[in-house]
Symmetry: C2
Subunit: 215 residues, 2 copies
Amino acid sequence: MTEHFNPTARTRPNRLRDRVRDEVAAVHAILDGGPICHVGFAGPDGPSVLPTLHARIDDQLYLHGSTGSWMRRVENAPICVTVTCLDGLVLARSTFHHSMNYRCAVVFGTARTVTDTDEKLAALDALVERVSPGRSAEARGPNPRELAATLVLAVTIDEATAKIRTGGPNDDDEDMSLDVWAGVVPVRTVLGEPEPDGTPPRALPDGALAPVWTT
Amino acid sequence: MTEHFNPTARTRPNRLRDRVRDEVAAVHAILDGGPICHVGFAGPDGPSVLPTLHARIDDQLYLHGSTGSWMRRVENAPICVTVTCLDGLVLARSTFHHSMNYRCAVVFGTARTVTDTDEKLAALDALVERVSPGRSAEARGPNPRELAATLVLAVTIDEATAKIRTGGPNDDDEDMSLDVWAGVVPVRTVLGEPEPDGTPPRALPDGALAPVWTT
């Protein structure tokens, strides 16, 4: 049976319902597939949005940062975490129907500070694994000082929604005969040639650059 | 003379000052170089962050959407517009020093509704040009009905800041001898092979896929 999120006032779609996906698996796939997220929170002078890395374990979405960073300000505060993967430019015959293909997941919740050491270590491992599979076992793990200097926040993924656009342009019938190229230009996020640090460079293990994103 | 933004309570850096860039040109370059932005606003039940396309003309940052979309809710409201370009994965010898190379611009302001038709058309042209240079002259322009159905918002870019990380890992001296690959894996956003819509497909003009982003 497919599991869906229960809609709330801010996740219930008001238009373009065919693009909305409320299945838990669809939201999780976008969260897992996007390299970074954007975190929104209410600052003293208005809304703020900052980018950071995220990782998901089951229904928990983890963020981390220095205890001296902006992340301290969102502890126990309502936040919105949005992950967007840009998949294509949609070039239509009219400027009006230009669009983009994308996958976007939005999670609303309260930022819980992770104080349990096991949970904190698991979250930090997951964050490193999202960047490079196998890395958490290879690199030196955090010592007590580093662990104390790192703030890990968690949001329960229970108020969430996704929006996905795929396919070509939705041109008006009367524009179909215009002499204008129309179609989709795919957009992909790719990794370049690794640039080693230090002399002599060590070997990069097999699978270290395995694709962990779906962009 | 280099022009800088005046710092405010929310743009003044509190740490990692060497990553902060307050030059107007640096902020503009990131806004122009990133394909999409994330817009933060205060919803009735807490902060929201949604992705959209943006375009800049001088000190005005333009957003657009359907008059039936969420964008209607941010008219005359304080918003935060953030553009992030991910440039690389920074793999360090310790998990603690893992990082990412990125460029991020953050603009705070109030969303002004663009009602002047000339300004609105110029903004819509700029939005299309950002996706594909030359496109605004080639595709059919907006008719009065389409123009009325499109909401264009503008934010004056005068309270803004940027953050840029470049270079390799900042490992601790005592970790330099660990047998772990360290370095940077570049991340790039690239365009794939265009997928034409319709039969027979028209020709894609020279320069239509000229790189407009710096990711």
